[in-house]
Symmetry: C2
Subunit: 130 residues, 2 copies
């Protein structure tokens, strides 16, 4: 399969696939014409990567996950550890965003949104103290 085929099949854009090869996530073979040639396993890896990235795993984490995926002698605890850590990271992000959200929602609600200049949002951003 050429890059366009795997792109379609895996849902990972061709541009991104080239990038993944660049950073050694995948190693497609090359044809005589210089075209990348993808085997089934490459396609599987790309689909795997696409799903892992969709779950928010970093490229570094994907690299480890992919290695574990290919390592028959792995322990599921290794995988679980990575996923758990990532889950915590996501929870942290959600918590941070929720804090922002609450503050922002309050400010937006308190703002008249009319043609007068007085604005609690700006006042809050410009406030002298905590």
């Amino acid at each position: 399969m050429n890059i366009g085929d795997v792109a379609k099949a895996s849902g990972v854009p061709a541009k991104t696939i080239r990038y993944y090869e660049d950073i050694d996530l995948i190693r497609p073979q090359r044809g005589e014409n210089g075209y990348r040639h993808f085997r089934e396993t490459d396609l599987h890896k790309l689909a795997f990567l696409g799903r892992a990235r969709a779950l928010g795993f970093s490229i570094a984490a994907c690299r480890v996950l992919l290695a574990l995926y290919e390592d028959e002698g792995r322990s599921s605890s290794e995988v679980k550890a990575i996923a758990s850590e990532h889950l915590q990271e996501i929870d942290r992000k959600i918590a941070d965003l929720s804090d922002m959200r609450d503050t922002l929602a309050e400010l937006v609600e308190s703002c008249a949104g009319d043609n007068r200049p007085d604005c609690p949002i700006l006042s809050s951003l410009a406030r002298k103290v905590g």
Copy 2:
């Protein structure tokens, strides 16, 4: 005030303050020795920026907010519009992260996390369909 002073007072790192000057968010004066010299208004702007960034506003949004902040003839509706849009963006992000979180939490829960290689997390990432 020198950059170190405003950094301390505003909570914005010196490095970041230089960057903000670089992208024309602030325009501190210069002393004869080449040092940046910050006035009260600069400090206010930096604190403003620090709070806006902490609420997740992009630099582009901050630029507009800062302009509105300094424009006596503004309408609060302009400010509210920017904040509302940002609020929606945050809500979108939270929703996305929550989806990831739920999927991930399910997977983590279903994984034994022992020394055997079988792992629902990897199976899910490697799944053929759906």
